[in-house]
């Protein structure tokens, strides 16, 4: 999750109140942000991904100051028309939208530049998902000439000097050689045209979402006024991005000037079919409205707040209210309010999670353990009575452990992207138990262990993976043999009142002639059903696991056994 670092002094100035440290810590976490650490006068806070508007010092302070009742209600951000426009046309279908505006009068120093670039980066990585959902660009206003066009060009027609590079480069060179090109170039893979901003003199200003021009797209200490743009595949996202960015710049002391955004061929844009949207003003800080449903909020929270109380709480979260229409006014920088349930949470946060009285409701239902789980619990108890230790193992193992070590070659299911060495789902439990024996070589014998657990193989299911719970047992000591493991199986089956027989079989993991299939005999099938295997493990298997003590074992489908007990 993204974090931001606040300078305590600057933060207090922005908030307009100084809180004792303990209270500050407490309030930060009760606002729904996670306090990471306080070091000296630096406060590091984790911001949840639903609140990109709190990713700047200004945005965080704005929310915090409302929350502690210093300055509540809807913040007003004024804009003046700049008197020029951005025209958007002829773009690649993958990157069709752009919005832009002008911000004047910010006194940039080294710190401020760092802050603005950080906010731009953080919005880029979180809110616009590593630029896949949008790009944001800043330009010194005095270097560019209005009106501005955002358009698509063939890669070979694009040539400009990218940020921090000495020479003009072609689009494909930028993607191949510039660090940002290498990092984000994947987004543009397969596009026929690349999007570019071009000013009135025909200068290429940038190639979103990759890189700005060094000549006209680099801000430094001399910059006062900015051209700010956001582009991407989704209009709503980039409008929110520019709202979040510009309101933060306004809180830094900037003045916002709006541009007219023209979409001459608007009918080709899914979000702009309405003819009224051929031309619109950016930014537009008019708050969206959402009906206040007092009962819904009270019912969800278990409270009985009056309309006024709710409105006051919402104001602590930065909302406004229009009494005549019972409408909550949602700040233009909030990107996460998509349903009235989002208002419910903000009311709860403002009310204070610590102020809710917990209560157990009267929802009368009958508790019940899953019957198969219950059966497995009983089987465990029987086996423990037979002096077996229960093991519990990971479901992931290596192919070597599952196949080579067991002297077999079965179709096991691999994972696509495992970071660790265990990259297959186990198809049998015996391999897990052999591993346990190997890990217990230094301990006393006899070592008699069992596991009831999940196994995985290919099958005709929703996922294509058939999951099955098995039971496996191994007995390991100098004098163990087939008789002993069969005694265990007898004892188990007798306890469950089930009948079975052993049928001769052959398996590579076992000694030939000392391995049999376990066949369950019940009402369902006179001939019985094969449910597992029992035998003496092959010396090669024992040696493969680096053991020097005989091992006998069995593995069976415990789900089948469960079903048989139900007949």
């Amino acid at each position: 999750m993204p974090t931001i670092t606040l300078n305590q002094k600057v933060f207090e100035e922005l908030v307009g109140k100084k809180l004792p440290l303990e209270e500050l810590k407490d309030r930060i976490s009760m606002l729904g942000t996670d306090l990471e650490k306080i070091e000296g006068n630096e406060i590091t806070v984790e911001v949840f991904p639903n609140r990109p508007d709190m990713l700047s010092e200004q945005g965080f302070a704005r929310a915090f100051s409302s929350f502690i009742s210093v300055k509540t209600g809807l913040r007003e951000y004024k804009t003046k028309p700049f008197g020029s426009s951005l025209t958007v046309n002829n773009l690649p279908k993958e990157w069709p939208y752009a919005v832009a505006c002008v911000v004047k009068g910010i006194k940039f120093d080294h710190e401020k530049i760092k802050e603005v670039i950080q906010l731009q980066e953080k919005l880029g990585t979180t809110f616009t998902r590593n630029r896949k959902k949008g790009g944001i660009g800043l330009y010194p206003l005095d270097k560019i000439h209005f009106p501005i066009t955002f358009t698509g060009k063939k890669p070979e027609e694009i040539k400009f000097r990218p940020l921090e590079f000495p020479e003009p480069m072609r689009a494909n060179q930028i993607l191949a050689q510039h660090p940002k090109g290498k990092e984000y170039g994947k987004i543009m893979e397969g596009w026929e045209k690349y999007p570019v901003f071009i000013d009135a003199k025909g200068t290429i200003m940038s190639m979103p979402p990759i890189i700005n021009s060094h000549d006209v797209g680099k801000i430094d200490e001399t910059t006062k006024d900015l051209f700010v743009e956001s582009t991407g595949p989704d209009l709503n996202t980039i409008i929110k991005a520019i709202n979040i960015l510009t309101t933060s710049l306004a809180d830094m002391g900037g003045e916002i000037f709006s541009l007219e955004i023209h979409y001459p061929d608007h009918e080709h844009y899914p979000s702009l079919r309405n003819p009224a949207l051929k031309k619109f003003i950016c930014p537009d800080f008019t708050p969206e409205k959402m009906k206040l449903d007092k009962d819904y909020i009270n019912k969800r929270l278990g409270l009985s707040l009056t309309e006024k109380e709710i409105v006051d709480l919402l104001k602590k979260m930065g909302y406004g209210y229009e009494k005549e229409s019972f409408s909550v006014l949602i700040p233009a920088y909030r990107a996460d309010v998509i349903h009235q349930v989002d208002l419910v949470e903000d009311v709860a946060i403002a009310y204070g999670y610590e102020n809710f009285t917990e209560e157990i409701p009267n929802v009368s239902t009958i508790g019940e353990e899953n019957s198969f789980e219950k059966f497995c619990r009983k089987v465990r108890e029987i086996l423990i009575g037979l002096e077996l230790m229960e093991a519990k193992n990971f479901h992931l193992m290596t192919a070597n452990e599952l196949n080579e070590n067991m002297c077999k070659q079965e179709d096991i299911i691999p994972l696509k992207n495992a970071l660790g060495e265990y990259n297959h789902l186990r198809n049998r439990l015996l391999a897990s138990l052999m591993k346990n024996l190997k890990d217990n070589k230094h301990n006393e014998y006899p070592q008699n262990i069992f596991e009831i657990g999940r196994t995985f193989r290919y099958g005709d299911t929703e996922t294509g993976v058939l999951e099955r719970d098995n039971l496996a047992i191994v007995l390991c000591h100098e004098k163990t043999d087939f008789t002993e493991i069969k005694q265990v199986l007898d004892a188990l089956m007798d306890s469950l009142s089930l009948k079975y027989k052993i049928k001769e079989a052959e398996r590579p993991s076992f000694i030939p002639g000392r391995i049999g299939e376990i066949v369950l005999i019940d009402k369902k099938d006179d001939n019985g059903r094969k449910i597992g295997i029992i035998g003496e493990l092959h010396p090669q298997v024992i040696v493969n696991w680096n053991l020097a003590v005989p091992v006998v074992g069995l593995e069976l489908n415990i789900e089948e056994v469960f079903k048989a007990t139900k007949l």
């Binding site: 349930v341 999670y353 229960e390």
Partner: protein, 497 residues
């Protein structure tokens, strides 16, 4: 030499009662061995005469020595003996001899030599070394020239350097000498004097009435028993499950492999959410990268909800939906999958309802003391028209109270599928600090409406469970949870809550 024995000897033998006590405690092995000691005194001969193994005789001798009846005198001699390879070479000839015997003026290549001599490659290499040193052969540009010299006798020093030809051994010689008390007892006929075991026969024929039972050393340590035991993680899980059952919750179970539809989409996690990326989630490979689409009705509802909110009154994520993404199989990242599936299967007559599950989930991580790719989580849902946020907190507080943490606090949190969302901290009474245990909330309408068909409150939680287990058993290395070290497991305290 025991000092007590000397004292006793000087005061002149055993009293009758002392003799009786000692005899009563003699083990059958001691009874067999003792009389023989009048004639034979060396370990191997005693064993032969007694028809016992040397180990058994040694045990008896040590017991008798402890009783002050004899002294054991062990002397050792150093000898040189043939080792494994030595005995082999004694029969077959030394490898360098074999090597030379097949060499002529022509270079044959090491593989041919190895094959022809039937020596191991290691031995062949050793031969070349030995023979070069003895100037028996010269190698030049990879070719052999051999000049036969007289083979010499190898000195012990030289054989020592070679692998398993000779070994140095200590030969133990064990002699016993009876003490005066021992001599006294050796004269007594010990057979038939005491009974070792009570038998069925004795009970039936009444001969037990005349029997004198051999007295045991009841203070002695006995070999350890190895009881069966439930795995300690399962003990904890069973306890927690019982809490939910007692509170009226029904258990949900299900698969660990899930399509992204159930793991994420049905829970309104946007398709481009970072948690769905490769570094966090295990994706399935091989023939099962993709699963089947769910029932088309439910697919359509969930899809529309993502795109524009569907019938939920929400704006949705306004993302482009991909069936390709929804079909991608993953190892479940949370047991909340089961909550989603359960919701989708409920009808009006099943309500109100409460469900829980406690099971394994997966995250793509390499294992170290702090991280594991498998972890336990306990999920619960309460579906009822009249439940609310305070009830959510009530259930959580109750559960954690019963788990041993009576003090709980709640903080705002964020999860894509709940609103309001809660983070649960419990106060650790020993560490005296707040410990974060996991998340909860009320499912968003965007989750409930498409799955259940109507939007009623569904309380939901899914805190991790491993922290509680680690804490109870005082385990600091998470790998110990599934290490299955039998010694540790046997000694591990039981879950006594």
């Amino acid at each position: 030499m025991g000092t007590t024995t000397e004292k006793r000897a000087s005061t002149g033998g055993l009293s009758a009662s002392e003799t009786k006590t000692i005899i009563a405690k003699l083990h059958p092995l001691e009874r067999t061995v003792l009389p023989l000691l009048k004639k034979v005194t060396e370990l191997s001969s005693i064993a032969k005469a007694a028809r016992l193994s040397e180990i058994e005789v040694m045990r008896a001798l040590q017991w008798l020595e402890n009783k002050g009846l004899l002294n054991i005198n062990v002397t050792t001699k150093n000898i040189i003996n043939l080792d494994k390879n030595g005995s082999l070479y004694q029969q077959q000839g030394l490898p360098e001899r074999i090597f030379l015997s097949i060499l002529d003026d022509q270079w044959k290549g090491l593989n041919v030599i190895t094959k022809k001599t039937k020596l191991s490659r290691e031995e062949v290499n050793a031969c070349i070394g030995v023979l070069k040193k003895k100037l028996a052969i010269e190698t030049e540009k990879g070719e052999f020239l051999h000049k036969l010299l007289d083979t010499e006798k190898y000195a012990v020093e030289e054989l020592k350097k070679r692998k398993e030809i000779i070994k140095f051994e200590e030969l133990k010689h064990t002699e016993v000498k009876l003490t005066p008390e021992g001599q006294e007892l050796a004269e007594i006929n010990l057979e038939g004097e005491v009974t070792n075991r009570l038998t069925t026969k004795m009970l039936k024929d009444g001969s037990w009435k005349d029997a004198v039972f051999r007295a045991y050393d009841v203070e002695i340590n006995v070999p350890k028993k190895t009881p069966g035991k439930k795995h300690f993680v399962n003990q904890a899980i069973e306890y927690a499950k019982q809490i939910w059952i007692d509170m009226g919750f029904k258990e949900m179970t299900g698969n660990m492999v899930a399509t992204s539809f159930w793991c994420f989409d049905a829970l309104f996690v946007p398709q481009d959410h970072p948690a769905r990326e490769m570094q966090d989630t295990f994706f399935m490979g091989g023939k099962v990268e993709k699963g089947k689409l769910p029932d088309s009705k439910i697919l359509e509802k969930v899809k529309r909800t993502h795109e524009y909110g569907g019938d939920t009154g929400s704006k949705g994520w306004q993302n482009r939906w991909s069936n390709n993404i929804t079909q991608t199989n993953v190892l479940r990242t949370h047991t909340t999958v089961l909550s989603a599936k359960t919701l989708a299967g409920l009808t009006e007559k099943d309500l109100p309802a409460k469900f829980f599950t406690l099971g394994k989930n997966f995250r793509n991580e390499a294992v170290d003391w702090k991280h594991s790719f498998e972890f336990n989580q306990t999920d619960g849902i309460v579906i009822d028209e009249n439940v609310n946020f305070r009830h959510l907190l009530g259930y959580l507080k109750q559960f954690f109270g019963k788990m041993g943490f009576p003090k709980a606090r709640f903080r705002p949190a964020f999860f894509p599928y709940t609103e309001p969302s809660v983070e649960i901290d419990v106060y650790h009474p020993e560490k005296k600090e707040w410990v974060e245990l996991g998340g909860a909330g009320i499912f968003r309408p965007e989750v409930v409406q498409p799955l259940l068909g109507k939007d009623i409150p569904v309380l939901a939680w899914g805190p991790g469970f491993d922290r509680i287990i680690l804490d109870y058993y005082k385990i600091t290395d998470i790998r110990e949870l599934y290490k299955n070290d039998l010694k540790l497991s046997r000694e591990m305290k039981s879950w006594l809550k």
